[in-house]
Subunit: 220 residues, 2 copies
């Protein structure tokens, strides 16, 4: 846990590469994890090329968990439990995990999976060791937008978490991302609202033929 890298578990998809790009724009260096080191390397090459300098390094997911204080969980929701399970023994007390997954299904039209805990974020809280802090962020931003470095974010994004301390520490990491305002949405149960907003954004993107639908919260 000694490195200054921000870790991305399963960071090779559009969501993970997009968040890596935006964290890099905010001045962070990232460790891209994957089950396969080769996949991680490919993603790293793409990220470094996009940013124009060496901001990303490749690793396995387990190496990411061993070496990073801040870990973004950027796999699709259906793989989250397997990724956490394979790294279970490598988590360390005081680490902070940021869940960016949304429990969506596209069978018979987009909808949220019904989860006993009430939301994907709360489900992931139950899977993680209790000594690890959990926040949820980037839930309502389209992966397509995150991964296009030429497209300004120009919107608000919401963060919630299992303690004020976790939220504040994660906001410090995220605050450097240009053109993005972070709004503190309080307890982890706010994932119920944020994930429902992702679903709405997907429906609106389809209806209005966009891939860039996102939110601003006015009046605060």
């Amino acid at each position: 846990m000694s490195s200054n890298f921000i870790g991305l578990l399963g960071g090779t998809g559009e969501e993970g590469r997009g968040i890596a790009l935006r964290l890099s724009s905010g001045g962070q260096r990232v460790l891209i994890g994957s089950r396969s080191y080769d996949s991680a390397s490919k993603a790293v090459n793409w990220i470094n090329e996009q940013v124009g300098r060496e901001v990303a390094t490749a690793a396995t997911n387990i190496e990411v968990v061993k070496n990073c204080g801040f870990l973004f969980l950027t796999v699709p929701f259906r793989f989250a439990s397997a990724v956490i399970e394979e790294s279970r023994d490598s988590f360390q007390a005081g680490q902070m995990v940021v869940d960016v997954t949304v429990p969506l299904s596209f069978e018979k039209g987009p909808h949220l999976l019904s989860l006993e805990e009430g939301s994907g974020g709360e489900h992931i809280r139950a899977l993680l060791p209790s000594s690890v802090g959990l926040a949820a962020a980037f839930k309502t931003l389209p992966a397509h937008l995150l991964a296009d470095i030429h497209e300004p974010l120009d919107c608000d994004e919401f963060i919630c978490g299992d303690s004020s301390e976790t939220i504040e520490k994660v906001i410090q990491i995220l605050d450097g991302i240009p053109e993005l305002r972070w709004i503190n949405a309080g307890p982890l149960s706010s994932c119920r609202s944020l994930e429902a907003m992702t679903l709405l954004a997907i429906r609106l993107n389809r209806r209005y033929k966009s891939r860039l639908g996102r939110y601003r919260f006015l009046g605060i």
Copy 2:
């Protein structure tokens, strides 16, 4: 159903008076319904005074159901079933109801009531005669903002409904409201997202000490 008035069932509270004000600003005339004619009269006096001309008329809820093609259900959610029940025999095929309620509870912190149908809007759909169309709108706008005619809305608001025809007809009624863009959120099940957004707005208003928190959807 011959009048040109837009009906507000239980239109005497802040939400009902606020929507009456905004519909009036959009060129509509409104019939304010209440269980008690006296309460309706008081609300009507307040509305006409705010707008500066005779835009509102008082009635009982049952008279509103008998006389209006478009009916806004503006009671608190917990009274919705009683208001629909008392007017059950007066609804007519082809009427359009607009649900603006949100199934909130403030006991032990704000949260949404768990409803078998999945949302308040879908719950109300099950209570209404099937010959009546149902849309949901104004769910994410604070009553306090709606009721302050000097405060521009300056945001987006979402509408969903049980058919495209219902949504389109209701949008025609709402389109005259100044400084408000209507976004078509599709099927009535989008109430699950919209009601979750109301809950989030309440949490954010509390945290950021505002009463005017509201949404804009960018990128479409």
